[in-house]
Symmetry: C2
Subunit: 197 residues, 2 copies
């Protein structure tokens, strides 16, 4: 199997967008294979007493985050459009991502969702947007119905339990064996760690 | 004068330790000169409804931060000893740093304080520790009395007002003209930005 890295992300997370758009290329360069783990930050934030994103709760932090994202997207040649509302409701997108078994297909779908949301400013809670993301990932439009599948709902719930067990508190997070790395800024360190094992 | 960068830090901040120990070398390589700006995060955190460090308020974030610091200090050959209590009361150290006019001397004193605190685990609210830091920076022991000087107290209060005007919400922060960069992870970007002006 070679070196493994788990990529934990919430579709609503801005910095997860940055990682999603580069992780496969960077990992390939390091000989590391990536598994994509959608989860919801909402319940984790709620445990901390937060009813929404910290970027909304703490306005100075929020203003800085958007400026930081502008600079980083500029540097990386990525488009950036702030979606309304922010944060987006990422529940359906997360369920659909989990419903895609093959990691390559899942990755393609996830990139399509992140691009629709932060690259084009679309609302990823909308069926029309998600259907277009399935199409871009060469997945059948009928997959949309899987968002209502009880087994998929249970799988996303289970992801939340695993995230909590891993002591995750934000996204993106990268997990290599028992080592956790938080933030797009730590992707390189996480890959180095994985490839050195 | 050449390119200028303002380094805003709180002595109680772990990631400020990382930046303090490398900023002068990195800045010199980029032809940037650094001004050292101690300030207190306490009032800024209080405005956000926080009575202590977010690393204490949010235990998972706190556990991660200490592990992240261990990894980064290892990589950089820096010692790391967690001071008790955490966060430290940094009021007196911040006042003393402001009382040192020459930036080279101020930088030497600040590095001595950060090393005593996070390198050796000493309590930087103690006069004996601060006196030793003055000695290491080749500053007179009598400077300790300046922590009670009304003009210095006012200067630190003014730093807090400037930090708020700059919309700072954490430390370390790097300010280049009106551009703000937050976190030791952004030091390189801040220096590049400054040297390109």
């Amino acid at each position: 199997m070679g070196a493994q890295l788990e990529f934990w992300f919430d579709f609503a997370s801005t910095y997860s967008y940055l990682s999603a758009m580069r992780i496969e290329d960077e990992a390939a360069r390091c000989g590391v294979s990536v598994s994509w783990h959608p989860f919801l930050l909402g319940p984790i934030f709620a445990d901390q007493g937060w009813a929404t994103s910290p970027f909304n709760l703490y306005p100075a932090k929020g203003r800085y985050m958007w400026r930081d994202m502008e600079r980083l997207c500029d540097e990386r040649g990525l488009p950036l459009h702030r979606p309304e509302p922010f944060p987006q409701n990422s529940l359906k997108a997360a369920r659909l991502a989990l419903a895609v078994d093959a990691q390559t297909d899942r990755a393609a779908f996830c990139r399509a969702v992140f691009s629709a949301e932060f690259g084009e400013g679309h609302d990823i809670s909308q069926d029309s947007v998600l259907t277009e993301c399935l199409r871009k990932a060469d997945l059948p439009a009928e997959s949309l119905a899987l968002a209502a599948d009880p087994a998929i709902k249970a799988a996303l719930f289970e992801q939340g339990a695993r995230a909590k067990a891993l002591d995750l508190f934000g996204a993106p997070s990268f997990v290599v064996e028992s080592e956790v790395f938080w933030g797009d800024d730590r992707l390189d360190a996480a890959l180095s760690y994985a490839s050195a094992l």
